[in-house]
Amino acid sequence: MLNQKEILSTLQMIDQQHLDIRTITMGISLFSCAEVDPAKACRKIYDKICRYAQNLVQVGEDIESEFGIPIVNKRISVTPMALVAAASNTENYVPFAKAMDEAAKTCGVNFIGGYSALVQKGMTRADELLIRSLPEALASTERVCGSVNVGSTKAGINMDAVKLLGHTVKDLAARTAESGGAGCSKLVIFCNAVEDNPFMAGAFHGAGEAEKVINVGVSGPGVVHSAIKQVKGQPFDVLAETIKRTAFRVTRMGQLVAQEAASRLDTPFGIVDLSLAPTPAVGDSVARILEEMGLETCGTHGTTAALALLNDAVKKGGVMASSSVGGLSGAFIPVSEDEGMIAAAESGVLTLDKLEAMTCVCSVGLDMIAVPGDTPASTISAIIADEAAIGMINSKTTAVRLIPAPGKGVGDAVEFGGLFGSAPIMPVHPESSEEFIARGGRIPAPIQSLKN
């Protein structure tokens, strides 16, 4: 039988260490909604999402109260919209985003992901129309998130898309200037995007996925932080073992909630994504975990090694605890959403270059980073290219979510509020990448793509 110590330790994780289920995300296939008439397609999209996800929020709230574990977000991901909209006889894709937005509002979810295109090897007409519509679509909707996959280890990097997206990011920032360019927080540019990621803004329901699926994202930087405080000064193998054990416990809880949600929603269970996803709340920071390992400030020498250990130990602990671990599983390092990262960036210790190095070993990439509003589109494209190259060569997912905050420069900060937090503007190199980006074409797939 359970003893008091075990029960109290779980309660402490929930009460003081911010342990929560970060998201229950329902993936819905929209292939059946493709129609020549775009208005008809939008109607079908709205109806199908609402039909499948009508009970999602209620079920999430029921589980939350019965198990006594906070479920912070209930969300929806759909088939990359460019694949669905391709069938429609229209050049204006914004109504598809609006249909998604309306469905999200009806279902009561705070975000819906999948206004996306997968263009790692080339762009179809629909892909290009979708990418060109991103600024208007994301600026004129409230809950829609978009993503574009521009590269993969198998296909290389589509530099035409990278070039285009530099302008897309700038345009989106300009259209949402009054909120500091917050529209850019809803757009993720991937290399090696995963098809079952439950976390926003990069979630979409991949083409190889089932009709509908429940994916669950668990988080718990505070729990890991508190666990490693107990092993201060001990060798790295002890540290890694402690993180693994903690990740195992947290993932077990995620697996239980995922199965319960899947069965109540009569939807197959997909994956548990064990990601240390920080929030701006004190005690919920990934940077502070790295500092607890013995670094004075996150971003100093040793940070990449610390993050590598953390990311790997989290995966190892999680993989045994769930029947199916997937998504991004690891440690996220978004700057604006992490109290410790914000402090490190403000102090000047954590720089964009160091963050890029950290993305070689974290679970995703350059995330929620504010840069000066006058950063040229070609520089943004070049940052995307660098990040995609890291992902392509290392066979890992990388991503870029940059916010060129209009009218702001180094020394300023932007406030996004809520889970998005606030971001100090970080300097970028002023030297031009213009000619490099102007080349266009494709960076060929690396030699490690030839595995067959």
């Binding site: 039988m1 359970l2 003893n3 008091q4 075990e6 029960i7 109290l8 779980t10 309660l11 029921d62 109260s65 019965e66 198990f67 006594g68 574990i69 416990r249 947290v250 077990r252 809880m253 697996q255 239980l256």
Partner: protein, 89 residues
């Protein structure tokens, strides 16, 4: 179904009595109790049987939360599964 009732707060007279009374009123059977006082802080954990309960766990959660406010404690009822998942393989 088994559930865990946890009561945390400052020690005072009558906490256990008040909680047990509420559980009895709703036909919830107590299987195990452990209770300690540390530095004047009261902490009690009960394993209870909800099979014959006259209310759902969700309703009981509201009842206990209200009682907690009345007697200055944080009282929760949660399904046992969550603790099992984290502490038992």
């Amino acid at each position: 179904m088994k559930a865990i009732v946890s009561v945390l707060g400052k020690d005072r007279v009558g906490i256990t009595a008040a909680v047990c009374t509420k559980l009895a009123e709703n036909n919830i059977n107590i299987l195990d109790i452990s209770q300690t006082i540390m530095d004047g802080n009261f902490s009690m954990v009960m394993i209870v049987d909800m099979d014959k309960a006259s209310v759902s766990i969700k309703e009981m959660s509201g009842v206990l939360e209200d009682l907690g406010k009345e007697i200055g404690q944080t009282i929760r009822i949660q399904r046992e599964d969550i603790f099992d998942a984290m502490h038992r393989i």
